[in-house]
Each structure stands twice: as structure tokens, then as C-alpha cells.
Assembly symmetry: C3
Homo-oligomer: 331 residues x 3
């Protein structure tokens, strides 16, 4: 989709420096930029590279106001964000024709909204409700009684167990499993065998959540597992039964949350972090990659980074590492 | 399914206190209990909450014998276990009609027992044998020559490679892969390239095993990988080629076992544990979350908890952490 | 496939000791060997066991030259490699009839080479190109515009997003996801919400790569993620957007690479390793299992093993562990 710099500036509430009539048709990185591409810079030291690139226009911060350049520049307080929003106006995603593919199996009792897409070999169970504009890609299996909101994208080969509730604009990447049984057993003290504890709760995923590829989110045992609005979950993440994740939480790849863990709003969790059962991560805490939070611990501190296993404030942890290195060198 | 408290008590070998004629139709947590629900308490301090809840009846330990209560109580030595068993009598799981969906592809040489379900878009290869009452859910792919025992549940989108042998009452959750090639290569010293070592062994899964979602269990290179009776494996777990896992082992999410690891009976393994090749975890040891066992180590100690990388008895590990923290504080 | 020892020796460029007319029909481990099986030994101490086994012939190193044995022996500089190559000549893999299964959905604009197999319920999108001899197994979903080279094997339930480029002889195991969106968001400082950063780059997988089951490899954000020739990736591995992996790299199970990580040629990475964003692992370094490389670090040292989080040369790390254990014992 071609747009002039001026037109983009209006859509993005950005200020234009230079020639607003330049036509932009795509986005790119600075290194790969070609004529007609839009690029962005977040700090002054990369501005020169951007201006010298072949890009048609550059999104930059206020630091670019006074620089002398022959290229169209869009000034924004948040250049990266403005670039991300520009992409929405410039990138054409391949259109999927709405409708149900002839090979999909849709229960007669399922209720589908307007402009819903059900691709090849997908299965939609009894009493499923799918709202307007949602796309169920090839080979997905949507269990009975599940509801999916508006404008969601459920990528290929996703399995959703029965009775899961998914909000609006939720994106689930390929191969993820939602609402699977939690890992709960009771050991019979007499036989020594494990018997299954019922896993009959549900999973609630609120609006604007995105879930990566091959992640697994278990349903609650008796009540609900919950993923709050706007939370973003990367690939191969595990969320155990009854976990409660707040809003605008970010969870990087291969992290695992055990049963009944609570993660409050605005928490940031690195990759491969392990959160044991009944842990509480309070508002805005940051967990460094590979850190581990033992059972029932509470992590508190908005903007404080924790690291290590068991996780400590990073300053403390780094000091311990330094002291140990020093002693070992001497010893 | 509605049952009276008296009827349940008989099924569960529990003693009734109070009105045995109360009708129970479902199970729930104490916090969500409604009329007709059955709840349980494991310790005396939660008994009051249970009795004051809206639940129709409470399963409790002997500590509830003498308490004064207006609600029906079932007394059990193992309240949580009794509750889990009650669920089997109360919860109605959606019936699947046995039979082969018209869209499933079943080889003419496959042999299916009575009351077998093969759901939509599943593929069953040549010479596969599936015993009575087993359900193969939508989009599963069962490789040639695999055998699946009685009353198994293979959830959606599971892939089973050729020649795997699965026992009775095995549950495999969505997206798991069973019998994939092990990770074995030989580096040619001349070219520096890796060539594939043959992965022609098999995978044997014994009775009553449950495997979580998106886990991967590789076949043996030349012989068999084996998962013993009653073992429970969580989501996103990796089991490498030739691993030998005993009976009644519990393995939490995201743990990985390298090739030829041996895990004896009754071992408990936390989440994100890493077990290197040729390790032996002996009877009844407990590995804390995120711990790591280096190549060829033997871990010994029934009921002993090990933690850290390399894993040490937890007492030792905690002492080391404490000493380090103390020194760092001073230094 | 039956072959005489003499015939095998010619194919494998090995020297025969003893009776070259013995017929060999299969490979096996020493412990399971039966008549007609070929086995191998890499060191002298296992030679006796091999010669006493029921195997028909033994591949061994030069150490077996002078031993007195009644069994046919093939002498090789690299016995394990020679055994792996022998397997190619001996093992008969079940033939798949080339062709498109009636239930597969192949876009009319897709171009398929000769002897291509598309199994049941697979979906091949618009403008996909699949070269000669490649097999797309059941339930795979190949996104629009993707190209797959010659003689690849894409196992069941794999999802490949649009526009991915895959070389020749690439093997992808079941359930893996290639080319999914990277984990990139921009937080709006005003609303506090995360918005998606465009993930419109691609994924390039070069020749002779093998990828395990349920792994996820994200496409680049604006440019390409790249996996170099001959690299082998195990199960449940995560590769983030824009990562650049060199040639002949080995990555064990459950390891994760964050965005823009660079791994040079011949690196060996153990299981559950975490590599943060913008890290560079230089030529031939070795990362021990569960080690962690913090953001933007450079790891350098051909053949040097690094361990721990943050990763240090293993000698240093082990010394630190030893010193800590000693102090804790005293204290």
C-alpha cells in the first residue's frame, strides 16, 4: 500500500521535515532499505546511517529536528512505536477469503459470526462460538463449548480443549495447546500409585493477548487459569493450572509457571525462568533470564530486576558472583 | 451424575457424618462451591471454611470426627485421594461416539478393537493395532506398525512415529510427539560435517502413563526408550533416545532427559531440570526445579532432595548459598 | 537389504579381516545383536564383548588389527561413522509412494517437482515451490510462497509460515514451527500497552539441516533469521527472530536463542542453554548444559567449554564451585 510521507504523518500524528510528497510503500531495516522504504532510528548516533541509507523516509526522535538532511523525516516522541504503527498502514497481509473450507468439520451446533474463516482440515466442536472476523487456520482443533472473540487469529495446528474462553483480538501461534489438563495427581499412600486429580476447571484468555508457537497453557483444576488483557507470551512457554497472570505482562520463551502462580500486572519475565507453585510476582517486577523462584515466595519491587536461583535483587546477585570469583582467584 | 452422600461413601469406602441423603452432583473448590457440590479439606485449619461454604458435603480427614457441623461430612484417611476418586463418579465427560470419522484415513491393514474412536482428519498407518475403547482424537498421526493398548486417550494433533508400543490406559495430551528420531550424529573428522547416526530403535510406553502437551519422547537409537508403568510426565518435557524411566516417576514441565539417562522407580523430578547423558537417578530421589545433573553422575538417596547445578543435597546447597550471601554482605 | 561383508567393506572403504562372505542384513547394538547383524566398537575394551556377541560382523578401529577372532571384522579409522554409513546401505525405510494424497489441499499455484509426496490432510499454500523427492507428511501446513528444496523430509504436523526458504536434504521433525512471528513489541509510554513490532522478515534454512520435534524458529522482524548448512537442532529448541546460526553447529534440546543472537560455525551448545539477545558465540566454542549468556556478551575460544550463568570457562567455574563448597564446609 503506497502512501505519501505527509499522509503517513497525519495517520501517525508525526511532524514532517523535508519533502512530504515522497511515496512510501514498505518498511525495512536500515541495512536493507531500498527506495520507497520507511526506516526508523531511536538514537542520534544511528541517524547518520539512516539518512545515508536508500530509504525514502526516516522516523526519528526530536534529536533529528535540527539536523541537516535531504531525506524526508517524521519526528516522533516514540520512533519505534510510530514505526510499528506505520507498518499497519503499509504492509499488506495476504487476504484470506472468509468462509469455511470444504474440508473443515464444523459442528452444526457451533455459532460463527460474520467474516469468520475456518481453513482446511480444522475441526470446530459442538456449541463453539466464534465471533466476527476471527480466523481459524488449517488443522486447528477447537473443543466443544469453547468461545473465541472477535478478530482473533488462531494459527495452524493449534489445539484448544473444550470450554476455553478467549477474548477479542487474541493471536495464538502455531502448535500451541490451550486448556490442556493440569499436572495434578494424588499419590495413594497404600499402593504408591498416582491417581489423577480432576482437571475440570477452565482457561480464560482476555483481550489482546498474543501467545507464541508451541506454548502450553493448562486449564484450572477446579477453577480457572487466567491470562490478563494485553499480556504477551513467547514460544514454548508453559503455564500451569490455576495460574493467574495479570495485564500487560511479558513472558519470554521457554519460561514455566507452575500451578497457582500469580503474576501481577506489568511484570516482565525473561526466557527460561522457572516460577514454582503458589509464587506471587508483584506489580512491575522484572525477572532476569533463567532465574528461579521457589515455591510460595513473594517477589516485590516495581522496576527491580531479580536474577539467579533462588532469585535475588540483581545487585546482590552480581556482588555475590564477584566475591566468589575473587576468592576463587586467590584460593 | 447425581449421587447421595451415602451412595458416594459406599463407593469411596468413607464414613458418613451427618445427613447421608444429601444429593451431590458435582465437585468444586471451597471458594467456588455451590449447592450440590462436593469439596475436600486436608487439614483442620481449612475445615471451618469448608463447613461454612455453600457445598453440599465435605470430604475431610479424621480431624473432622468430633467437630460439630450441620453439613454432611465424609471421613477419609486420604481426603484428597478420596475427592479425586469421587470426581470419577460425579463428573460426566462428554461422550464421544465410537467409530471412525468419515474424514479419518485408516489403513486397510490397521486392526481396530471394539469401541475405538478415530476422530476427524486423523491418520492411522499400515499394520497399526489399536485395542478396545481407545480414542484417537482429531488430527493425530499414528505411524505404521505402532500398537496402542486399551482405553487410551490420544489427544488432538499428537504424532506417533512408526513402530511405537503403547500400553493400556495411557493418556497423551495434545501436540506431543512420540518416537521421533533421537539426536545422534557422528562427526566426520575429515570433512567436519555431522552425519546421522541411525535412529532405528523404538519407544515403549507402559500402562497408566500420562504425558502432557507438546512433550517429545525420542525412540532409541538401536534399542528402546522406555517409560515405566504409572509414570506421569508434564508439558514440554523432552526425553532423549534410549532413556530408561522407571515406574511411578513424576516429571514436571520443561524438564529434559538426555540420551541413555536412567531414572529409577518413584523418583520425583521438578520443572526445568536437566539430566545429562548416562546419568542414573536412583530409587526415590527428588530433584528440585532447575537442578542439573552432569553427564554420567549417579544420584542416590531415597527421599533426599537435590538442588542446584551440579545438583547437591539441598541442605548442602542452601548452606553454600547462605555462606556466599554472608561473605558478599561483609565484603 | 542383505549384503556380504566384502560388499559392505567396498561401499564403506573399510578393510576386511576374516570371512568376507558372511551375509549382513541389519544393524544393532552389541547387547541386542543377532545373527546377520552388524555392530561396532570404538575402543579396545569393548572389542571382546563385540566378538563374543551373536553379531555377524564387527566394525572396529585399528586396535582390532592384531586380535585373534573368528568373526568378520571391518577395520575403519572412524568406526562409529562407518557404522552410521553402513546403516544407510542396510536399513530399509518404509517406502512412501510419491504423489499427492486425495485429502491433501494443494494450491493450484504451487509447483511440485518430481517424486514429491504430499500425505493426507497436508495443506500447501499458494505459490509454494517443492523440489524433487521431498516428502511432506500428514497434517503439515506449508504457508504461501515458501520454498522447500530437494529430498527434504517434513514430518507430520509441522507448520511452516509463509515465505520461508528451505534448502536441500533438510529434515524437520514432527510438530515444529518454522517462520512464526518473532517476539517483538513496543510499549506505548502513554497507555502502557504493548503493540506488535512488525515481524515481516523471513527464515532461511540451508542445506542438510535437521530440526527436532516441537522446536520453534521465528522469522526475522525485518530481515532474515538464518540456520547455516549442516547445523543440527534437537527437540523443543527456540530460535528467536533475526538469530544467525552458522554451519555445522549442534544445539541440544530445550536450548533457547534470543533475538539477534549470532552463533558462528562449529559451535556446540548443550541442552537448556539460554542465549540472550545480541550475544555472539564465536567459532568452535562449547557451551555446557544449562549455561546462560547474558545480553550482548561475546563468547570466544575454539574448543573451550563454558559453563554456568553467566557462563565462564569451565575451569574457572569448577574452581569457584570447589572454593564455595570448602568454605561452606568450614563455616
Amino acid at each position: 500500500m503506497k502512501r505519501s510521507v505527509k499522509e503517513l504523518a497525519a495517520l501517525l500524528h508525526a511532524e514532517v521535515l523535508g519533502d512530504g510528497s515522497v511515496m512510501i510503500s514498505h518498511i525495512s531495516s536500515i541495512q536493507s532499505a531500498r527506495e520507497g522504504d520507511l526506516v526508523f532510528v531511536e538514537d542520534e548516533k544511528n541517524l547518520g546511517r539512516a539518512l545515508e541509507s536508500r530509504a525514502g523516509a526516516v522516523i526519528a526522535g526530536n534529536f533529528a529536528q535540527d539536523s541537516n538532511h535531504g531525506k524526508a523525516v517524521l519526528i516522533s516522541d516514540q520512533p519505534r512505536l510510530t514505526f510499528a504503527r506505520a507498518a499497519v498502514h503499509l504492509c499488506e497481509y495476504p487476504a484470506l477469503s472468509a468462509g469455511i473450507h470444504a474440508s473443515a468439520i464444523v459442528s452444526p451446533s457451533a455459532r460463527l459470526g460474520a467474516e469468520v474463516t475456518i481453513e482446511a482440515h480444522a475441526t470446530v466442536g459442538d456449541d463453539v462460538v466464534i465471533d466476527n472476523g476471527t480466523r481459524i487456520r488449517a488443522n486447528c482443533v477447537i473443543g466443544a463449548g469453547t468461545t473465541v472473540g472477535r478478530d482473533c487469529e488462531i494459527h495452524a495446528n493449534v489445539t484448544i480443549y473444550p470450554g476455553v474462553r478467549i477474548g477479542n483480538r487474541v493471536v495464538v501461534h502455531a502448535g500451541s495447546v490451550l486448556g490442556s489438563d493440569g499436572f495434578g495427581y494424588v499419590r495413594d499412600r497404600v499402593s504408591g500409585h498416582y491417581e489423577k486429580f480432576p482437571q475440570i476447571g477452565t482457561l480464560i484468555i482476555e483481550d489482546d493477548v498474543e501467545i507464541g508457537a508451541n506454548s502450553t497453557i493448562d486449564r484450572g483444576a477446579l477453577d480457572a487459569t487466567r491470562i490478563g488483557r494485553g499480556t504477551k507470551i513467547d514460544n514454548l512457554v508453559h503455564v500451569g493450572h490455576n495460574a493467574q497472570i495479570g495485564e500487560d505482562v511479558v513472558i519470554a520463551a521457554q519460561t514455566g509457571l507452575s500451578g497457582s502462580a500469580v503474576v501481577e500486572d506489568n511484570v516482565i519475565i525473561g526466557g527460561q525462568v522457572g516460577i514454582a507453585d503458589h509464587v506471587r510476582i508483584e506489580q512491575g517486577a522484572i525477572l532476569g533470564a533463567q532465574s528461579g523462584i521457589p515455591s510460595r515466595k513473594v517477589i516485590r519491587g516495581k522496576g527491580v530486576v531479580f536474577w539467579g536461583t533462588p532469585a535475588r535483587p540483581i545487585r546482590e546477585y552480581l556482588k555475590q558472583l564477584a566475591v566468589l570469583a575473587r576468592i576463587a582467584k586467590k584460593g
